[in-house]
């Protein structure tokens, strides 16, 4: 395992008040070559977890292992886990090359060997033209790529990212994101990546760790989390979700029959309880000739899709129309029929 976190806890004492557990019993294993994202709303403990791995915060209890070695009490500069910071944190008094050389000097490499490595990697990252510049002459996107170069060139055991894209504009964010993922897949470096942006997490990760209130809510591949969320929190944090209450009528042979606003549905799996909340994604609801009747509350055209809100048996549901014709959109008050793609419905018991 590249990184193992065992029962990791970080508590802050507050005078005259109970301590706050910002990180409360996190367990996680990151495999070699994997890019794992810590995702969650602000205050969920993701950044604190990352900073404990880096060694900038000391855990209150628990263990951190990097490649099998217990580093819980090892100072940051002996861990060899460079971080790419949100603010880039480039040394303003050094040029790009000197920035990149910094970590290699710390490893005791000669300037000549260091420069050879820097030149090779900078070329691969299309930064070779910028090496002799001062860092303040660079754009935000270039600065972030230099930060990545500076960390990568040390051939780290594990690379840490602390919301690296959040200071970039929307377009730059997409291209740097793609570049990080491409470099990661080509060089195969292990990464722990913190973000609060679920689209970023989906796009870049092998696995995503959703955190809530200092705990791990769910770990899985992006597809896993999206299709089979373990809780309402995960379902609504990744993408948009409708929740449809249902009662279990029969369960046998890996099939579960439920009764809900859409009538009787047959789902696969085992029943966990007598009642359930069905997670229904907006794109899994279809308007058509048959199905449950509903009334349109509103409909908005977005180009590639349109989104409607409908009222169905007392529930307000969001649904998504792919490739819509803007002249033939449903209007508020229209009576429509809604069908659900039963095979994509995910029950939470």
């Amino acid at each position: 395992m590249a990184v193992e976190l065992v029962e990791l806890v970080k508590a802050f004492a507050r005078p005259g008040a109970p301590e706050v557990r910002v990180v409360n019993g996190v367990n996680l294993s990151v495999r070699d070559g994997e890019l794992v994202t810590l995702l969650g709303p602000s205050g969920c403990g993701k950044t604190t977890t990352l900073r404990m791995v880096a060694g900038f915060e000391e855990p209150t209890s628990g263990t951190i292992r990097i490649h099998g070695q217990d580093v819980t009490r090892v100072p940051p500069y002996r861990r060899h886990v460079p971080m790419v910071f949100q603010s880039y944190a480039l040394f303003p008094h050094l040029t790009v090359r000197q920035n990149a050389r910094f970590g290699l000097e710390m490893q005791g490499l000669s300037a000549k060997d260091a420069d050879a490595r820097i030149d090779a990697l900078a070329k691969a990252m299309h930064l070779d033209g910028l090496l002799e510049r001062g860092t303040h002459e660079l754009s935000g996107g270039q600065q972030q790529r230099v930060a990545l170069l500076r960390a990568l060139v040390t051939e780290p055991k594990v690379l840490l990212f602390d919301e690296p894209l959040s200071n970039l504009d929307a377009q730059m964010r997409l291209s740097v994101r793609a570049e990080i993922r491409a470099m990661q897949q080509r060089l195969g470096f292990t990464s722990l990546y913190v973000t609060h942006d679920q689209a970023e997490a989906m796009a870049i990760s092998d696995r995503v760790v959703v955190m809530e209130g200092g705990k791990v809510a769910q770990v899985g591949s992006p597809a896993d989390l999206y299709c089979r969320p373990a809780s309402r929190f995960v379902a609504s944090f990744l993408g948009e979700a409708n929740f449809v209450p249902a009662t279990v009528t029969r369960a046998e042979g890996g099939k579960v029959m439920v009764d809900c606003a859409f009538g009787a549905l047959e789902l696969s799996g085992e029943a966990g309880a007598k009642t359930a909340q069905l997670v229904v994604r907006p794109e899994h609801l279809l308007l058509g000739e048959s199905g449950t009747s509903a009334r349109v509350l509103s409909c908005t055209f977005f180009g590639a899709e349109a989104r409607c809100e409908v009222e169905l048996s007392g529930l307000t549901l969001a649904l998504q129309l792919p490739a819509p014709d803007p002249d033939a959109l449903p209007k508020a008050g229209d009576a429509v029929r809604v069908k659900v793609r039963t095979e994509r419905v995910h029950p939470l018991y």
Binding site: R51, A54, G55, F56, P75, P76, Y77, R78, R79, H80, V81, P82, M83, F85, Q86, S87, Y88, A89, L90, F91, P92, H93, F102, G103, M106, Q107, G134, H136, A147, R150, A151, T154, L160, S166, N167
Partner: protein
Amino acid sequence: MKRTPLSLRLLTLLTFVAMAVFVVFPLFTVLSTSVKDGQGGFTLEHFRALGRWQHVRPVLNSLLLAVLVAPLGTAVGLAFAFAVSRTALRGRAALGKLAQLSVIAPPFVIALSAVLLFGRNGVVTKGVLLDRLGLDLYALGFDIYGLGGLVLVETLSYFPTAFLILTGVLAAVDPAIEQAAMSLGAGRRQTFFKVTLPLAAPGLFASMLLIFIESLADFGNPLILGGRFNVLSVQAYLEITGNDDAAGGSLLAMVLLVPSVALYLLQSALLSRKGFVTVSGKPARAAPFALGPGGSRVVGGIAWGGAAAVLLFYGLVVYGSLVKLWGADSSLTVEHYARALKVSWADIRDSVVLAAISTPLTAVLGVVAAYLIERTQVFGRRALEVLSILNFAVPGTVVGIGYALAFSRPPLVLTGTAALVVALFSFRNMPVGMKAVSAALKQVDPSLEEAAQNLGASPARVLGRVTLPLVAPAVFSSLAFAFVRAMTAVSAVVFVVSGSWNLLTVAILAMVESSDLSQAAALSVVLVVLVLGAFEGMQALVRRLFPSSRPQLS
């Protein structure tokens, strides 16, 4: 293009006229006096005097002293700054407070204390070494009067300048930068030497330049402790008051003025260099990089050593003020206080009254100048800014000579009046208020003022209802500084005091010169108590009136 309202143009005109009369005119008088012959014609004759050794020596002495004090004061200030903001040492808050309070202390108390400690009758030199151990330092060539004593005293007086600058510079370093170094494998020592120190380099240079200027301009310490080591400011004073040589004094003042202004401009350019502003992104919650145990011991040792020296020096003044007859009778008494309050009551009253009158004037000038510079497009606002900054850099001796010469003859005769002292205080301290208010105005988003206008407020009401309330904490904070600076001023006012309006600081210097040390010490204690009380009181008032703002030191 919006037209500038008439009221604003009048205000600008008025400000320029006032600045011309009370800032430019005195300086111009110094310049013109130094190049005028007896009949009022132009001459460079006086510059020949610069070739005379009696004039060259003070120049060299001043430079030598400043060259020594600048790095020493910066080193002590650096240790203080690191001890306070980058270690977990016990009592570091007290160190910071001590450094801050040293800024507002009168600029000659430490020199007085040095005499009490190391003079011929000093506690150390006589009381301990000579009387107890039989060691006569003075017989061995030691003399507290002169270069060595001045270096010690000015280092202790001016390290807080470096402390304040470097604390600001360190606070502006994004903690992520130092963490990045550590995450790349740099240990504490390497992070300190390869990242933190280079990032603080502009602050180090700026501190050295400022202390250099302060040392050049220092008047109180060399007057007391110079002995035969003559410096420029004191020599200029002696030319004017002793030899009655206005041209010679003016000439030395010019020699003092030019490097001061040049170096001041250099240091403000250094501190405003863009490349080294490293705060970016969201404010990091992260604690800044801390020194390891070894580094903490080093900076802690220097800082505590400096602090102990400062405390010793101030403590000695209190002790000196209680000793019956310094060097002869060590029994304790409060009679010096009784006498000080009786004999010098008028001086104390004059100091407080004149400082109190000039303080609000300083604030008004500061607010007007800052407003014109930051918030209007009036013609000449850049000139106003440059003028204010120059005003700040001019050594007090130059200003004092300028005032003494400029206002002693028509068209404007103010010699001997309270108005002259008040004008001197107000215009000399005006940059303090202006800088604080300017900084506060820069923090106020212009969209707040636009929103008020958008809601129907006239420019005057925007100013009264939105802008001024937002900068009020800065104004009040700078009031405290203006008052303190007026109370402790020496170098300029020494030229404009008179029989009818004398000041506490000048009275103390006179007592030191007549070797009335205990009396001088008692009055110094009174002065320090007045100043500290007023300063802390004002700051407490600011905290009370504006609970959300933090008092700022400029």
